[in-house]
Symmetry: D2
Amino acid sequence: MKKIPVGILGATGAVGQRFIQLLDNHPWFEITHLYASERSAGQLYRDATTWRMDTTLPETTAKLRVEICEVDEMTPKLVFSALDSSVATEVEASFAKNGAAVVSNSKNYRMDPLVPLVVSEINPEQLELITTQKKQNDSSGFIVTNPNCTTIGLSMVLAPLYEKYGLEKVSVVSLQASSGAGYPGVPSLDLIDNVVPYISDEEDKIITEPCKILGETTNGSVTPADIAIDATSTRVGLRDGHIEVVSLSFANAKPSHKEIRETLERFSGLPQQLNLPSAPKNPIEYCIDPARPQPALDRMRGGGMTVTVGRLRESKLFDVTLTLLVHNTIRGAAGAAILNAELLHQQGYVD
Amino acid sequence: MKKIPVGILGATGAVGQRFIQLLDNHPWFEITHLYASERSAGQLYRDATTWRMDTTLPETTAKLRVEICEVDEMTPKLVFSALDSSVATEVEASFAKNGAAVVSNSKNYRMDPLVPLVVSEINPEQLELITTQKKQNDSSGFIVTNPNCTTIGLSMVLAPLYEKYGLEKVSVVSLQASSGAGYPGVPSLDLIDNVVPYISDEEDKIITEPCKILGETTNGSVTPADIAIDATSTRVGLRDGHIEVVSLSFANAKPSHKEIRETLERFSGLPQQLNLPSAPKNPIEYCIDPARPQPALDRMRGGGMTVTVGRLRESKLFDVTLTLLVHNTIRGAAGAAILNAELLHQQGYVD
Amino acid sequence: MKKIPVGILGATGAVGQRFIQLLDNHPWFEITHLYASERSAGQLYRDATTWRMDTTLPETTAKLRVEICEVDEMTPKLVFSALDSSVATEVEASFAKNGAAVVSNSKNYRMDPLVPLVVSEINPEQLELITTQKKQNDSSGFIVTNPNCTTIGLSMVLAPLYEKYGLEKVSVVSLQASSGAGYPGVPSLDLIDNVVPYISDEEDKIITEPCKILGETTNGSVTPADIAIDATSTRVGLRDGHIEVVSLSFANAKPSHKEIRETLERFSGLPQQLNLPSAPKNPIEYCIDPARPQPALDRMRGGGMTVTVGRLRESKLFDVTLTLLVHNTIRGAAGAAILNAELLHQQGYVD
Amino acid sequence: MKKIPVGILGATGAVGQRFIQLLDNHPWFEITHLYASERSAGQLYRDATTWRMDTTLPETTAKLRVEICEVDEMTPKLVFSALDSSVATEVEASFAKNGAAVVSNSKNYRMDPLVPLVVSEINPEQLELITTQKKQNDSSGFIVTNPNCTTIGLSMVLAPLYEKYGLEKVSVVSLQASSGAGYPGVPSLDLIDNVVPYISDEEDKIITEPCKILGETTNGSVTPADIAIDATSTRVGLRDGHIEVVSLSFANAKPSHKEIRETLERFSGLPQQLNLPSAPKNPIEYCIDPARPQPALDRMRGGGMTVTVGRLRESKLFDVTLTLLVHNTIRGAAGAAILNAELLHQQGYVD
């Protein structure tokens, strides 16, 4: 079987590198085009960037020549976007307009009413928006987005609970890894023997994106879920893996801790049903040890695609409190987008 | 003026060392006795412990001979306790019974109805309990405690708000420093590129102690304040300084952010009035920069005795959210106890 | 093909866990016995230890019952030892005496004249000592050791240079990872915003072991290589991966940097020839970027079995200086032992 | 007594902030002028920079208005330079030409034959060059420099040994703190669970600067000391404090370890004799504990101006090996410059 050629927009950045790492030896997709800024264009990929993943740069990708982010007749029909938000709006639109399926990790179109904001296990039905989007833009191309890294971990845990018990309110405090800010990103003096209690432009995404993800899709539009979410984001000295302390109150039921845990552990979606290549066997795993999940020990479960939960317990102010861990650059970024693309392919949106 | 001789129980541990550091050149107190376990007893202090403070071990203390934790006719009338909770119950009681004022950082007697749990700026009136305690124990000695490190930071911020606006509910998520667990304490493999989402035996203290501190003292007993507190504690790769993300709802009023900030910044107590040696000029300072307070940059304000607050803002689920920072081994431990002792001296409980 | 049953001595410690992780799905070996101290004996492995590897504890191993370190008729013929040096002398001897091939990572027998100290790529001929050892001990069992973690990285680089150009003197300064001290190991307060400039009992091994490894084996005894080695070990805030800054002077030739680099990159041994399961394709890889090798990015090359070298350059006081990186708990411990066992099996010492 | 007005060139950067911190309440000097790039000029200092020292920004400095780096009739006669090397050449020359004493931490003029490269305790006689420099430039102003941060720590230790025993060769491997690269400086992903084995443009300074410092000044020119120095610099996850592992061989004598230690501990210079405000009582202190010096515990000795030495011991390849620690932004930068200025004032070069 011939593999589907794919391109990567923003290939030289941290998320771009993660895309390349995760797509190495992918059974369906094959990287044929790498796009970056003018500064890098024209160079071999291995010369255009300092490879900083913890596996070797795949030889075939190393030798690809980087191109500027412009469409031509050679542009693959599927491109992943790891573009900086300062340029994503225009570039992604132009690729979509010219017939490409743009599977984007950028924030720019996430809240656009025509653009699906999808976590493959949770809301594949939101891909319906693609039909309207194509029609509206009169193009065979389209944009599909995945949420912010912290939002993904949170939504994975909220989704099965919301479906079964309803959710009224959710409070999140996150301890986020340095890689979330890319490279060079956060200065080392900010994180050696230190914590930065603020991440610019982060909390808003955590408050709004889950409501779209958990919303109802009818007639080509999404009615957001009505959940009151509060979020505080902090940055700590971690390479990868966001920890989130989550307190929540249910809307329709008061499940026991045992029921909640079972609901989480049984959570499974279309990716698992379809046995998609990047789908983890268990989207959520629960840790009994109260000192877990820990980023260094648990972030790579399910190849970085499993969200780990622990410390489910009583709360005086909410129904329950729990702690979750999500690998922010795999499940929270490149891995989520690749899983979305796999789903798009299986569902016939990309061939 | 002759200085008051003081002893330190548990002098070789991390908090014991901090006591010694902070009492160096103290205008009123002079360390004359150091107490530790049998293993250390009989040795010169400098041989009995590896000094791990970031200032030099004072020469006079270095040469003191460590004694076992037993009372005799030479025992000073004022002792600070940095004892491990496994031995504090018995030792502190025996020192108090034999006429010593025991100013303790240990948790053992904090919730005892006869023992004051005092933060000098907040509830000096709880020292009244001493009278009942002495009578009950038929002794001129007594025990006074200061709260847990995380509790102190929290209580400092809650106190002026509680007094002025009432408090209904408080939610805290803490990012705590390694030094809180003493030395050797937390293994480095737990905190390099990692977070531990749990601290054994910590959250309970944060939930209960503030209610006693903010309670009302009448007729020799404390009626705890009725505030619903929720707490989650995590351990991060920091040397010193606990960060707390606090959300709260008021009981009696809905002050504006401006009013809240003014209330916090104007907070001041008896230590400031009496100009006690260890009293910071500002018990609370507010940071306008949303990326502050940061442990590495702000924990030493007011010599480590000032609590720093930032990020006061709207919350969807509470009235407001804010972030605070407290130096856990100065304001949160040894410094708090020394300030309590200074207050005891000024108030005539110790002479 | 039926797999060879193997036991692990010291299975609950950090190196023991690494053995279990690396032996999961091993094509030749299958863990059937786990040995630890009396405290753990009798429990299921999953209850006897807190699993701290970054992959999941294999189900079959999790359910094995831990035994005390004693030999009986069920003892497998091949055991790996991750024993603490305080008990290794006696336990390893008793297992060897009772017919087991003990492949040990412990230091106790490394310098014993009858015991091979082997890095599979470098000195497989030292396995000859086994014959004498068996005879001497009148047993079919025997002990084979691999060197200290820092020594292995160093020896891998010295070996091809020594063979080709001779070595007169070698100076090493190492920046070592926390995992080298096991768990709990180094306190976090020692490594947050800190360096410990000393590792007890380490430098001596780096000075003596390479000379035995590079020595000549004739008639059942090893004549150590005559190389003057100086070593300073420091501990830094790393999880895994020792960095070594190495300066050296050759004895017989003055190769160019190009020749040296080629000699290193071409280095290959019996494990590569025999295509042993744990043998990395490239025992040594060279980095052109002067800012490499970096532990976080390069330690997992070759599955953690490849030693990475960089910064080969002029020295004013030696012939050349270079920097190397070795994964201390894979190539530097459990992985090295497993590779030795694979070689023993292939060479007919274990079946 | 009226204080001497001083200016700071490059006041908004990390070293500039350190100058301001250390000059707060200085008995002789008073900051009256702050210079920075055009971007900051015109703003109040507190608005022009994010203050990142661990003490509060002094009120009077906070309110100073930042100026561009140009000379006018108000320019103070003494300016400290913390300028980036990209602009220091021109700016420092223009200030000197216009009559200012420029006490610079920048590297640009360090190796200039007319410019003193001075560590106040070691080579105050090199200030003689000022006379020639002034004549040559026909100006009452001049430039005086202090060495690179790593060089200073090294030179402090070499100086008394060189004077007494001569030095033939010196090998240095440094573990350097993040602050050496300023702010934002080193990305956090480079130092979390990582080491960078290379610091661009650093090793050369360590090799050449000590020879000028220890050189002989005669007739207005310096003959560098003839010592063969080798250096390897690495960057580790530290806020402040460079560790240096130093091996050395003497030229004229073979002192015992006891003699060496005494020579180091007795080292004292003009700053101690003159009791200069920033002079530490002990320029060098020796630690008996082999696990010291440690940056977190020892870097602030002598207010950050004392160099700490430990682990003096045998070497197989040199005469001895030792480990030293220097606070890189105090003794290694701003503090060194201020001490130089104090010496200049005492010696009549600045009034």
